[in-house]
């Protein structure tokens, strides 16, 4: 940022008062940085002027229209939004779907007195319609919310699934101890009597060990 701030651009645009202009010029004599900036601004302006023969800036009406656009742009399809700086001639380049005069008539905001830019070359190189850019600005935070929401949902559901999926699907069972005891006895060569574990009636003499 230059030391002169806003006044620097005003100087280049020739909008400063006499006294202010003198002071700014005096500063420029001292400050290399500001001088460079003024020089580059002037060069830029000259190039812009060279691109646009008529050298006309967009009307204030056009600016207000730009400001109203984001809301509309957000809700319409991107292909539908080539409203702005293009004149009838440049329209096809900006958007092949954009209509002709009838379409423009339908737009109440478009001023009939709006200056016409006949030249294509006056457009900035990035010929993205202003509305689309504005729409992108409006959608970005929304998309961020969407992504965050999806991520939260995914993680939450995943975590819940992990917690809920802990147990096994298999039903709870109680081993048939009495039958198992008999099977064990039969294969190991003992009397296949029910184990006292499951048969409290069966007397087991419990005595202190040796």
């Amino acid at each position: 940022m230059s030391c002169l701030g806003e006044r620097l651009t005003a100087l280049v645009d020739g909008e400063l008062g006499h006294e202010e202009r003198d002071r700014a010029l005096a500063h420029l004599a001292r400050c290399d940085h500001c001088r460079d900036e003024v020089a580059s601004l002037r060069k830029l302006k000259g190039r812009l002027r060279g691109l646009d023969e008529t050298d006309e800036l967009p009307s204030p009406d056009f600016l207000t229209r730009l400001r109203t656009l984001p809301a509309a742009a957000g809700s319409t399809a991107p292909g539908d939004v080539p409203p702005a700086p293009a004149g009838p001639l440049s329209e096809p380049l900006a958007d092949p779907f954009a209509g002709g005069a009838a379409r423009h008539a339908a737009r109440p905001l478009r001023s009939a007195t709006r200056p016409v830019r006949p030249s294509n070359s006056a457009r900035p190189r990035d010929n993205r319609p202003a509305g689309r850019a504005a729409a992108a600005l409006g959608v970005q935070p929304r998309r961020r919310y969407l992504v965050m929401g999806a991520a939260t949902l995914f993680l939450g559901l995943g975590g819940a699934s992990y917690v809920v999926g802990g147990g096994d699907d298999a039903p709870t069972v109680t081993p048939a101890f009495d039958r198992y005891a008999v099977q064990h006895a039969l294969t190991s060569g003992d009397a296949p009597m029910t184990d006292p574990l499951t048969d409290p009636v069966n007397q087991v003499q419990v005595s202190p060990g040796p």
Binding site: L157, G158, A160, S161, Y162, V163, V164, G165, G166, G167, D168, D169, A170, P171, T172, V173, T174, P175, A176, F177, D178, R179, Y180, A181, V182, Q183, H184, A185, L186, T187, S188, G189, D190, A191, P192, M193, T194, D195, P196, L197, T198, D199, V201, N202, Q203, V204, Q205, V206, S207, P208, G209, P210
Partner: protein, 365 residues
């Protein structure tokens, strides 16, 4: 110079021969089962007596009382039962208080627990030798000892010198204490023919009614659906945990499937101690295990119960394992702890949870 050239081929040949011989010895040592050496130490006569005892148990009629006693550090438990055997018919068991059981000769497994497989395991893991003769139930008996590598006795069998029937057997732990003893406390080889041969039909029904799920009618029959190697492979393919070996040199020697219950009985043995593992699908119903001791070891919950036999119940991967053995509780616990545990992968768990959540949220369910 000439001599050298003459001797060189000869030396080379001798080196080659020596190398070949060494390689052969090495190959034999590596390929040979180390148990072969141990098996040689087993007395074939003693093993033959054990084999004959299994045969005698089927052939010889007898009547008497059997007991099974197990010891742990602080106490012993004994179960007694009256038995009578008629060859070709079966064995009838009567207990003072419990339901009577009848074990038909056909399809009831081996009455001594000695099958060719378990005998093979016995000779592989222990050296089986003759011991000093003794007397049991007032009858002279041949004593056979199964010894560990260090020479200590791990098991003893008393076999009737006259009939060849096994009268008594016991297992001894490494400290020299008896842990299991089973056999006859009285025996007579002249059974009274008073009992009708069809006694299986007039077995009291009370016992069976108490356990509607049990074999029923007091008839004790081994699950007939024996699983061969292909069946076991198929089970493993379906995700069933069927380990071939368990800690403590226990080897799977028999597997059977319950006809209706969906349980699989895996019999493991090291030749002496029999360990049964019953596997069934499901998770443990902890309410049914009130009164069981519950321990958590290395993140695994095991329920134990020690009565006459030693029980341990654990679960994992959607299967419940019931381990049952006469051997000390530590064996049951070690087996239960080493059976396959939960291996549910993260994705399996999440997808299962998602399915459950969907089932809960689904209004049409």
């Amino acid at each position: 110079m000439i001599a050298k050239t003459v001797t060189r081929p000869g030396r080379r040949r001798s080196v080659l021969v020596c190398g070949l011989a060494g390689a052969l010895v090495l190959a034999a040592a590596l390929a040979g089962d180390p148990a072969v050496a141990r098996r040689v130490r087993s007395d074939p006569g003693a093993v033959g007596l054990l084999r004959a005892a299994a045969d005698a148990a089927r052939r010889i009629p007898y009547e008497g009382r059997r007991f099974l006693t197990t010891w742990n550090r602080s106490r012993s438990s004994t179960s007694r039962v009256t038995v009578s055997h008629l060859p070709g018919e079966g064995i009838r068991y009567r207990s003072a208080t419990a339901e009577d059981r009848y074990r038909p000769e056909a399809g009831a497994g081996d009455p001594t627990g000695f099958t060719p497989e378990t005998l093979d395991l016995l000779t592989r893991n222990y050296s089986v030798v003759h011991g000093a003769d003794a007397a049991v139930c007032g009858r002279p008996a041949r004593v056979i000892e199964a010894r560990r590598d260090d020479g200590s006795a791990a098991g003893r069998f008393w076999i009737d010198a006259e009939t060849g029937l096994m009268l008594h057997r016991e297992l001894i732990d490494a400290t020299g204490r008896r842990v299991v003893a089973a056999g006859f406390s009285e025996i007579s080889y002249t059974p009274s023919a008073k009992e009708p041969a069809t006694y299986a039909l007039n077995v009291p029904r009370g016992g069976a009614a108490r356990f509607p799920a049990s074999g029923g009618q007091g008839t004790a029959v081994v699950w007939s659906d024996r699983l061969d190697r292909a069946d076991l492979a198929a089970l493993r393919d379906r995700g069933w945990p069927v380990p071939k070996v368990l800690p403590g040199r226990l080897t799977l020697h028999d597997a059977r499937r319950d006809a209706g219950g969906g349980a699989v009985h895996l019999s493991y043995s090291d030749g002496l101690a029999a360990v049964s593992v019953f596997v069934q699908r499901g998770t443990i119903d902890e309410r049914a295990l009130s009164g069981w001791r519950k321990t958590v070891k290395r993140g695994r919950t095991i329920f134990h119960r020690e009565s006459l036999r030693r029980w341990a119940v654990s679960a994992g991967d959607g299967y419940v394992y019931t381990v049952l053995t006469d051997a000390p509780q530590s064996t049951a616990d070690a087996v239960a702890a080493n059976l396959p545990r939960d291996t549910t992968s993260f994705s399996t768990r999440v997808s299962r949870g998602a399915r459950r959540l969907a089932a809960v949220a689904n209004p049409f369910d």
